[in-house]
């Protein structure tokens, strides 16, 4: 008997209703699990709200970024941008993957050292480095990225007192054709200040000029800006070799790669518009490879990208506190996490989803946080399913900046867990308690008693 022809099995949704300008009506699919772990169980065990970080997403994203650059350039090094998320467990995932540390303050520097990062693998950026910070960095052979002439002269001064030779790079700001132009950090390329700084460093016999650094902006949607920046740094490297015979060890292109979050007011979603790691890598490496730098003098390419490395790995999960109607009849849903925990809500139209499948009905809703502040809006005017009190929600792509810029305002910061590669949760930052805050306060003797 001959067999029948096989057609692959399919199931198609039967759509009714009118298409919008984007096609058929949009539906927010629930997100019930993170890395195979039910969100409901995580909230049950660790409380609500709760930050959840996915270790496997961090590692996957790191590998993807590293592959994009290392497949195009012979010598690539990533450095984890501590300010983006300096929870120690997060830092250590990146360090396990091979990333150095990039820090912008004495506090972050100490954090990296405490995490076990060797001093010589720490890049020290930022405009505020105290004398003690600089001494420590020089002693540890860390790579100091000089921000201004006052810092340069302080390092020159310290180099005379200390036995170790400071390892330095300069931070270069420049016009890369984007707006706003970041010119407050480092030395300007166009007006010759950067070249001047390099010459002064070369003239000083106590300093080791290791590299050049730039950080052209944040949430960069244009890869062309990186192409221009890489070209200008390559020009400086060539001039240095031509004039001083000095070969740089590295060129540090900073960070600022856009994540897939959608900026407030953006027409298209970030998932459609953010360039990929391959796009950024192609722009940067093609310029360096085709520059006049001699092939055997190609410097190490350092990347400090933070946001694009960690945003996707972070989730904020929580519970609906209440629903209400606003004066104009719109629906307001109050969540138990607000801008105190989700600082990035000021910039992004975050992707908020229900955890459990709920009705297909949606309504024009404003999602508020729990603070007594009018600006505490997580999403304004979003077509959102009708969640009720006690229902759970999840906010995607919150890994960058929220665990460093969160506020302790009228409430305490919640637990943070990391899911390991098997989806098992590990508590990586304990929720604050009253004592956490009170332990830092000191009560003057005459204010200890009162009678009401």
């Amino acid at each position: 008997m001959t067999k029948l022809a096989f057609e692959r099995p399919i199931i198609q949704r039967i759509n009714a209703g009118l298409p919008s300008k984007y096609g058929m009506s949009h539906r927010l699919e629930p997100l019930s699990h993170i890395d195979g772990t039910p969100i409901k169980d995580l909230i049950g065990e660790f409380g609500s709200p709760l930050f959840v970080l996915s270790e496997s997403t961090i590692r996957k994203t790191y590998k993807e970024a590293h592959r994009a650059f290392s497949s195009r350039y012979p010598n690539v090094q990533f450095a984890w941008s501590y300010k983006t998320n300096y929870l120690n467990a997060v830092c250590n995932v990146f360090h396990q993957e091979g990333a150095w540390a990039e820090v912008v303050s004495g506090f972050e520097y100490d954090k990296a050292i405490a995490n076990g990062v060797p001093g010589e693998l720490i890049l020290f950026n930022g405009p505020d480095k105290s004398t003690e910070d600089l001494q420590k960095a020089i002693r540890n052979n860390s790579l100091i990225h000089i921000d201004h002439f006052d810092e340069l002269y302080e390092i020159i001064h310290l180099s005379k007192e200390m036995t170790e030779r400071p390892k330095v790079a300069i931070r270069v700001n420049m016009d890369t054709g984007i707006y706003p132009k970041w010119d407050r950090f480092g030395f300007n390329y166009e007006n010759g200040e950067a070249w001047d700084a390099l010459n002064r460093i070369m003239a000083n016999k106590n300093l080791d000029l290791m590299g050049l650094h730039t950080h052209i902006g944040t949430y960069m949607m244009s890869v062309d800006a990186y192409r221009i920046a890489a070209g200008k740094l390559a020009d400086l490297a060539i001039k240095l070799e031509r004039k001083h015979g000095h070969v740089l060890k590295y060129i540090d292109m900073g960070g600022g790669f856009a994540s897939k979050n959608t900026l407030r007011g953006a027409y298209y979603p970030g998932t459609d518009t953010a360039p990929s790691f391959d796009d950024f890598a192609e722009a940067i490496t093609s310029v360096l490879m085709s520059s006049d730098i001699k092939p055997d003098h190609l410097p190490m390419l350092i990347l400090e990208t933070g946001r694009a490395m960690i945003d996707d790995a972070g989730y904020l999960v929580g519970t609906v506190i209440a629903n209400k109607r606003l004066a104009d009849g719109r629906r307001a849903t109050i969540l138990d996490a607000g801008v105190n925990l989700l600082f990035t809500a000021f910039w992004y139209e975050h992707d908020v989803r229900p955890v459990q499948p709920v009705s297909d009905q949606t309504e024009d809703t404003t999602l508020y946080g729990p603070l007594c502040m009018n600006i505490d809006v997580i999403r304004g005017n979003v077509m959102f399913p009708l969640l009720k009190k006690g229902d759970q929600y999840v906010i995607k792509r919150v890994g960058a900046y929220n665990n460093t810029q969160w506020m302790q305002f009228i409430t305490l910061r919640p637990n943070v867990v990391m899911l390991d590669s098997k989806g098992n949760p590990h508590l990586i930052r304990k929720r604050e308690v009253l004592e956490t805050i009170n332990s830092q306060e000191v009560m003057p003797e005459h204010l200890k008693q009162f009678k009401l």
Binding site: F6, P9, I14, P357
Partner: protein, 85 residues
């Protein structure tokens, strides 16, 4: 083992209704056949055997189609969340 949610209504003609979401779907004949076998409690190897016996399809291709189809069902929330094959 994959399980279709109990409340999902499936007609003999391949019309599927999810009362939880209010969504309705249509299955093609092979999709319907597979869903009916899943509802009868058959696992992947039993379904593979039945399908490859009846249809002109090799087991490798079917496995790919099958898991793609099951992932679609899961995406549409038609299967029990922890059901795996």
């Amino acid at each position: 083992m994959v399980k279709i949610k109990k409340n999902i209504a499936i007609s003999d003609s391949g019309f599927v209704f999810d009362p939880g979401s209010g969504d309705s779907y249509s299955l093609n004949p092979s999709g319907l056949e597979i869903v009916q076998m899943i509802k009868l409690g058959k696992d992947f190897s039993a379904i593979l055997e039945a399908v490859t016996e009846k249809y002109e399809v090799d087991s490798d291709s079917f496995e790919r189609y099958y898991y793609d189809f099951i992932a679609t069902l899961a995406q549409l929330h038609l299967t029990e969340p922890d059901g795996k094959d």
